[in-house]
């Protein structure tokens, strides 16, 4: 009788334990973006300080790096210098856009004064663009190829080296697997 109860308990509990244990292997933020290898959501946002809205569609023909960030995000400070460096390296060959997430223009201005400016910073009031890109938190960076397809998504801070490798693969028209390896910093 006791053996039967034990067996029944195991049959019920063991799968649950397996499912939960399996769950620990995943970081919820590391869920693959369903948008990778799909067309990037079309958007237009006003740049910080006003002016004509910047539309993603207007940047077709060369790769675009979109970095979602905020002044209250510590890793964003770490990666900002890397992004500035990469944007200078790729000047004229790729477009860089910053999209500021859940932040205030005055604070963004002060932060950029302190940390340096290079490429347009767009204000995503209401976070609708962040939601269209499936942003969970900041920083997140998307690399979009010249045809408007999302080639890669970075969760967490990026480095100039990673972006160099990724943009290099994207611009040279490498296949998806090679591009993925390059964007992840894996030697091809």
């Amino acid at each position: 009788m006791n053996k039967k109860v034990l067996a029944a308990g195991l049959v019920i509990v063991a799968p649950l334990i397996l499912v939960l244990a399996n769950g620990f292997r995943f970081d919820p933020r590391a869920i693959d973006s369903p948008l990778v290898r799909k067309p990037a959501p079309a958007f237009a946002l006003a740049p910080l300080g006003g002016g004509a809205p910047v539309a993603l569609a207007g940047l077709r023909g060369k790769p675009v790096v979109i970095n979602f960030w905020a002044t209250w995000c510590v890793p964003c400070q770490q990666e900002h210098g890397e992004l500035l460096r990469a944007s200078q390296t790729w000047e004229g060959r790729a477009a860089f856009l910053g999209v500021v997430y859940q932040d205030e223009p005055a604070k963004i201005d002060a932060w950029l004064d302190r940390m340096g400016r290079s490429y347009p910073q767009l204000v995503d009031t209401g976070s609708s663009v962040a939601m269209a890109f499936g942003v969970y938190g900041v920083p997140e960076t998307y690399v979009i190829d010249g045809a408007g397809t999302i080639a890669h998504k970075y969760t967490g801070p990026v480095t100039a080296g990673l972006l160099d490798a990724c943009l290099g693969a994207v611009t040279s028209g490498k296949d998806a697997a090679t591009t993925l390896a390059a964007c992840n910093g894996e030697a091809s």
Binding site: P39, G50, Y136
Partner: protein
């Protein structure tokens, strides 16, 4: 208050303006001698059909205030055009004194959402006029073309009339409150809205219905409807924006699923392996019920006195014999 918050307030105010003044072409605000009034018409009436669901966002800014929220805002039905307008202190966004001069901008918004600007939205901006001006004609045209302002047909009212003839430069014609243009085009993801635009109680109901089915992506298993986080609030606003345009609940869920994947859905789709999730609770309940029924039937049979084949029978008999008070024991107890 920060510009960010003011910009949000601007969108929110336009949204409420829309719900409060849904029917009439011109919102029935209290008339004031400082109201600016006139007519809105299409510059190219024959070639520009007014899209269904389009609305006109009317705003007035003080002289020199190219940025930041407008002084007055008003949302109007876009059809039929031409239509008369009246905007004034009753449409004030933040309160405060009435400026000496204002510039009125009308924008024909194809999707009816103040926070998005489509490439086809037509605009017209007046010259600087004093509060009380009337007879202003705003001719809607593509913002890249000349945002033409017709000369006033009748300048009357306190200090009214169109002053100055210079057209605003195109950049100013398309000037918007900082950060307000958050144009993501949902039609590219989920197609056009399947329903008609909703507002008021219906809008609230549809927003809540969809928000309950969406996971707040930064929370621990909470719905967008339940979570107080900033992200959930933004997601609710997005849901409301889509619902207001007429997107059905399923389309709204599809929009979020396109960017976040099935993770964002609190109710897994009824397909593939997901059927296990849907069927398992009922199946397990049925199994449990069947087990209980079989046990009680078995137990019912077992209450009969034990037969000789019961392995416990000899022990039961011995216990009964030992616990039964014997004749000698009872006599001892009496003495």
């Amino acid at each position: 208050m920060t510009t960010h918050l003011r910009a949000s307030a601007f969108v929110a105010l336009l949204a409420t303006a829309g719900t409060a003044h849904a029917e009439p072409d011109v919102a029935p605000t209290a008339a004031s001698p400082q109201d600016v009034s006139g007519r809105i018409e299409l510059a190219d009436a024959a070639g520009t059909p007014t899209p269904a669901g389009a609305v006109i966002f009317l705003s007035a800014r003080a002289d020199g205030a190219a940025k930041g929220p407008p002084t007055w805002v008003l949302r109007m039905a876009a059809s039929p055009l031409p239509t008369d307008f009246r905007i004034g202190p009753a449409n004030a966004m933040m309160g405060g004194p009435t400026p000496d001069k204002v510039r009125v901008t009308a924008r024909l918004d194809a999707d009816g959402n103040a926070s998005t600007r489509g490439p086809d939205d037509l605009e017209a901006t007046s010259d600087l006029v004093a509060p009380g001006a009337s007879g202003i004609v705003l001719r809607l045209a593509a913002p890249t073309a000349t945002a033409e302002t017709a000369p006033a047909t009748g300048s009357e009212g306190a200090g009214g009339g169109v002053t100055g003839g210079a057209q605003p430069p195109p950049s100013q014609a398309s000037e918007v409150p900082e950060g307000v243009v958050t144009g993501v085009d949902p039609t590219s993801v989920v197609g056009p809205p399947l329903g008609a635009p909703v507002e008021g109680e219906a809008l609230r109901a549809r927003t809540m219905e969809a928000a309950r089915l969406l996971r707040c992506v930064v929370c621990q298993g909470m719905s967008v409807a339940d979570s107080p986080s900033e992200t959930a609030r933004a997601m609710r606003d997005q849901v409301e924006g889509l619902a207001a345009k007429g997107y059905e609940t399923q389309q709204i869920l599809d929009w979020f699923e396109a960017s976040y994947g099935a993770f964002v859905l609190l109710e897994p789709k009824q397909e593939g392996l997901n059927w296990l999730v849907w069927a398992a609770p009922g199946g397990l309940l049925a199994l449990g019920a069947a087990w209980i029924v079989s046990r009680t039937r078995g137990a019912g049979a077992g209450v009969q006195p034990s037969g000789d084949d019961d392995p416990l029978a000899p022990w039961l008999a011995r216990v009964r014999a030992e616990t039964r008070p014997s004749a000698t024991e009872s006599k001892e107890s009496e003495s």
